[in-house]
Amino acid sequence: MKPSLQLLLRVLVLFFIYSCTKTADNIKLPETKPKLVVGCFLSPQDSLITLTLTRSNPIFGAHHNTINTNDAVPDADVFISDGSQTNKLMYDNGKYTLSQMVLPVVAGKIYTLNISTPDGNSVSATCTVPISNAPALDITFDTTGTNKKIFIHWQDIADETNYYKFFGREQLVNSFSADTSYSWFYYTVADAFGTTGGEMNSEKIMNKNSLAYDFYLLNMDVHYFKYNLSLEKNTNSGLFSQGVPLYSNIKNGLGVFCSLQASHVRIP
């Protein structure tokens, strides 16, 4: 083979093995600063108002091991107002809390959140507590088949648009160690229902050897509904699905400031 031809072939081969992956240096990356991430779920059924506050971590430029931290922001000023009084939440052990003895969460009321941090960030949000408590759950079992089936039933609240979420856990016994453990399960959030009310039924196959169950039904406000829906999609992305942004009602921030009413059943 002529040397020039050999050279040509080598050049061609070099082109082929030249990697097709490289750092994308020809597009301008979004410049992102950390945002405050709020988690606050107001419920008249709880005794405390609890708020979590963390920061998002910009992906680009950061070291890959430093993202996804749970570090709470401890030094923020957090205020919740019900329109007539404004109260500060106190930081304690990773959470900001306020007793409902001081600021009760009342059905139908509008609450406003304002947070500011020493570094000059501030976020705010508003939500309205659902008017009605979550309907009572009616749970029945069917153990005739090979599986244990449970039937979940509740009566929709008439004359309201409601957003429900059902979840629960079953207590299992480890067959080797006899320890007990809990297994959680969730149901997809029901779609927005009309104002007519009506019955809602669902069916689920359970472990036959469970010792005990806890069931919860949430009657959520629209913010939690949208947030929860996007959260379920976000954690459910397939290979070819695109990234799903999470809903947030926090102005200048992330997370959710929302409200719900909950009903709970423990069996047995």
């Binding site: 597009i27 945002k35 988690g39 963390t54 971590n57 680009f60 997809t188 929860n228």
Partner: protein, 887 residues
């Protein structure tokens, strides 16, 4: 010489025009007192001029006429004694075809235009008798003409004339001029010679179907030969990829043959091969289209201003016709390329009556790789093999029973298959994934009289996708197969009625039955403890689509042509009926010679929809019907622009603006995809496509520019598109509008083909070609930050809330842009005439300057462990070589 003739014609025509103006300004039906004068005429044979003189002598009445239309030498016989002048004139009107009008005491004579005759026939290529679609028949004396239809048929109805001049022309063919005495209906089949020399090309350019003279706008014609000359990825010529180089048409991802026309999705294109819709036009995940250029006669893509005869998709109609097959001699064409080889054979079965065409292509990556894979396995316990291939076969057969009845049968079969086999001593696993189309069309052309052409087609098309698994071991044997697909049966009749020079009416009716199988699984399992168990589940949906249409090519004024039409489809599915009315309108106003303004308005509906969340032509994309909960997609489009022919340079220039609004367009809901659609654990009847998709609206508008030179030594085009495409879905992006992923602001293609030298026995012919493309990068969503998303838990257990870790904060949907895409491909073809025919060596280079265009982005780490955005690109510089032959 030809130019002199046409000048004379123009002068004559002007005179004629003046006479017409006279009529318009003072039209009074002759009934003045002069007409009562008595005349006696008794001649067995007298020339008209002489006869008129005699009348003048007897009555003193003078006649005005143009010798262009009144033949004074024409002989007639007359035997009328002592009758009124009116009776004489009536006699002449009846027997000599002369119309008379009284105008200011003079009698104006003109030709009686009420007598009309029709010239009709088929236009084909000399040597092969291949029928030519879109050939022009032009009558210069009438400044008007017609275009042959999809079956090469034309029909032209004109007033009686002693010397009618007709030009027959077709791009790249010699023009034939015929002088005809039109005094009866004339059947006239014409063969045009495709082997032109330069001088004749000049004539052709002057006479071919001028863009500035048709009402049809937003239409792209791809000369098949140009498509074959343009360099291609791995040397695989691909018509769809050539179409992507035209304005208003965007490609999918790198190397993909998918089409996004004026902001429409890849499902909104109706791709018809010999009347049969092809549902999946792609091989190998969209890198190649299923159309083999050797078998294709013509390609036309309409992206707006749709005539009423087309419908069923929102954004484009791409019509392809397979060659009929050479009727005179056996002819072959083929090629050997890097990944596939192809062969086309055509020839007469019964000379000038019947012909056939068979064209086939197959890849051989699997065959080449097999020994290599085998050598890897030679010393292992587990033998593995894998492979991939695709093939396609086109066949066509036709038979001419007479000039009134012709029958065409055509079929297409194509398939893609991936397979793997694993085998060890105790077990084996076979897995396959494949998809394919089958289409078959039977067509019958029938001519009623010589002005009404009809075609009736019976069409079958089937697309199917499957995944199959077979596991065998000593203990257990199991099989599983998933299939999805769509099957259509269509019966349609189309009529083409050439009424006169002002009207050409097309009408027709169609009925289609769609059988959708969005989901079918079948499996068996058998093991040592249990007997054979079978599972089988299938969802099938049957829908019907019927409709009628009518359209008229109408020329109300000399400068204006319009196409008005109405299409009325009716669709029923699962008890729900959709009845739609789609008005269509397009017009052409000629501002000056070779320069016109065009405008159009169309309304379209689409009843079958593709669910795809990838847009890269994966076979997993699923066709589903419109239903109760999924109303049909709907679009309205207006377009306006200019068309300019520059015959001197055989070049056309078009500039068009369009605005399109789309309703009920589909998208997967956020987070849903093919995979979790089928594997939803909470639902045993897992498949419900309606749950996983959402419908919304789309807006697209833009400006397109095309300068195209279709023939000559140097040909090619410049295409530029400036466009915007936005979508809005209530359940995506929190209901906010966003730019579609394929919204690309600028799109530029430069295509050049230069034939340096024609091939001869001694010397190689050389053709150089090159394309350069540039487009704005795709719109994408980027993750910008990570955080832990809180959610509510029972307060008694976890204190009220917990976290989902590792969720991402994204930019607004599709608010970021990938880097711009650009690429240069070049090719050289060396042709040589051989004793047996012609051979061509082609060497081409894809992506000459090795641009690393991003295919997708991902988050990776740099050397220090910091996160950076990385890009994966697909095709670096890729040289290829192929050998092609013709005989």
């Amino acid at each position: 010489m030809a130019k002199d003739v046409s000048k004379k014609q123009i002068v004559k025509y002007k005179r004629y025009f003046i006479i017409i103006l006279f009529f318009v300004s003072g039209y009074i039906k002759a009934q003045g007192p002069g007409l009562e004068q008595k005349v006696s005429l008794d001649y067995s044979s007298i020339m008209l001029g002489e006869l008129l003189k005699k009348i003048t002598e007897q009555t003193g009445v003078s006649f005005q006429y143009s010798t262009n239309f009144i033949d004074l030498n024409k002989k007639t016989s007359i035997h009328l004694n002592d009758v009124g002048l009116k009776e004489v004139l009536d006699y002449l009107q009846k027997n000599a075809n002369i119309k008379y009008t009284l105008f200011q005491q003079q009698i104006l004579l003109s030709k009686n235009e009420d007598t009309k005759y029709t010239i009709s026939g088929y236009i084909s290529e000399k040597g092969s008798r291949e029928l030519l679609i879109g050939a022009v028949v032009y009558a210069p004396q009438h400044k008007n003409g017609v275009v042959s239809n999809n079956y090469g048929f034309y029909s032209l109805t004109l007033p009686e004339q002693d010397s009618l001049l007709l030009h027959y022309s077709y791009m790249g063919h010699q023009t034939i001029s015929k002088k005809i005495k039109l005094d009866k209906d004339i059947p006239l089949n014409i063969d045009l010679d495709g082997s032109t020399d330069l001088e004749e090309v000049e004539v052709v350019a002057e006479k071919t179907n001028k863009l500035s003279e048709t009402t049809q706008m937003s239409t792209i014609e791809i000369p098949v030969q140009q498509a074959k000359d343009i360099p291609a990825l791995l040397g695989e010529k691909d018509i769809l990829k050539v179409v992507q180089l035209m304005p208003g048409i965007q490609k999918g991802g790198e190397g993909s043959a998918g089409l996004y026309v004026r902001g429409g999705g890849p499902d909104q294109n109706l791709i018809i091969l010999d009347d049969a819709p092809v549902y999946n036009a792609f091989h190998l995940f969209g890198f190649f289209s299923v159309f083999n250029g050797d078998a294709v006669k013509n390609v036309q893509l309409i992206k707006g201003g749709f005539p009423a005869r087309y419908g069923g998709r929102l954004s484009s109609v791409m019509e392809m016709n397979i060659k009929d097959g050479n009727k005179e001699k056996i002819h072959g064409e083929g090629g050997i390329g890097l990944i596939s080889s192809r062969l086309t054979l055509e020839g007469p079965l019964c000379k000038n009556k019947s012909s056939f065409l068979v064209s086939a292509r197959r890849t051989y990556i699997d065959a080449v790789a097999a020994p290599i894979v085998a050598s890897f396995n030679s010393h292992k316990d587990t033998k593995s093999s894998f492979g991939y291939f695709f093939y396609d076969i086109n066949t066509k057969f036709n038979y001419d029973f007479s000039d009134k009845d012709k029958v065409y049968l055509s079929a297409y079969v194509g398939k893609d298959k991936f397979y793997t086999k694993n085998k060890d001593q105790s077990s084996s696993t076979d897995a396959e994934l494949g998809w394919g189309n089958v289409t078959a069309t039977a067509r019958w052309n029938h001519l009623f009289g010589n002005r009404l052409f009809s075609n009736t087609s019976l069409v079958f098309t089937n697309y199917s996708f499957f995944i199959s698994l077979e596991d065998k071991s000593d203990q257990e044997t199991s099989t599983f197969k998933y299939t999805s697909g769509i099957r259509d049966y269509t019966l349609k009749s189309d009529f083409d009625f050439s009424v006169n020079l002002k009207h050409r009416i097309r009408f027709g009716a169609f009925a289609t039955s769609h059988f959708f199988t969005p989901y079918a699984i079948a499996g068996t399992i058998k093991n040592t403890t249990t007997p054979m168990e079978k599972i089988s589940e299938k969802i099938q949906v049957f829908t019907e689509e019927t409709g009628v249409y009518i359209e008229d090519d109408y020329k109300p004024f000399a400068r204006m042509k319009v196409n008005v039409g109405l299409r009325v489809p009716d669709y029923s599915a699962q008890g729900k009926n959709y009845f739609k009315v789609e008005p269509r309108f397009s017009c052409n106003y000629s501002l000056m010679r070779n320069f016109s303004l065009k405008a159009s308005y169309t309304m379209m509906n689409q009843f079958v929809q593709l669910i795809s969340n990838t847009g890269i032509g994966l076979p997993t994309d699923l066709w589903v019907p419109s239903s109760k909960s999924l109303p049909p997609q709907h679009a309205r489009q207006v377009a306006a622009g200019i068309a300019k022919d520059i015959p001197k340079y055989k070049t056309i220039l078009t500039v068009e603006g369009y605005y399109k609004k789309m309703y009920q367009v589909l998208n997967y809901k956020e987070g849903a995809s093919f995979y979790n659609v089928n594997l939803d654990p909470d639902n045993n009847h897992a498949f419900s496509w309606e749950k996983n998709i959402t419908s919304g609206r789309g807006w697209s508008y833009g400006l397109e520019l095309l300068v195209q030179k279709k023939s000559g030594n140097f040909s090619g085009w410049i295409a530029y598109t400036l466009s915007w495409t936005q979508l809005q879905f209530d359940s995506l992006n929190f209901g906010q509008k966003f730019y579609a992923g394929y919204d690309r602001r600028h799109n530029l293609s430069l295509v050049g083909i230069y034939e340096i030298r024609e091939a001869s026995a001694e010397k190689n012919g050389i053709t150089l070609s090159g394309t350069w493309v540039y487009n704005t990068g795709n719109a994408i969503t980027l993750p910008v930050a990570a955080y832990n998303a809180p959610y509510y838990l029972a307060p008694s257990i976890y204190g009220g809330s917990s976290y989902y870790s590792g969720t991402s904060d994204y930019t607004a949907k599709n608010s970021y842009r990938m880097a711009a895409y650009h690429r240069l491909d070049i090719g050289i073809q060396l042709h040589k005439k051989k004793k047996w025919g012609e051979r061509t060596w082609e060497i081409s280079v894809y992506n000459l300057y090795n641009r690393q265009n991003p295919y997708y982005y991902f988050i990776g780490q740099d050397k220090t462990g910091n996160n950076v955005l990385k890009q994966q690109s697909l095709f670096p510089l890729i040289p290829s070589v192929s050998y092609n032959f013709k005989f």
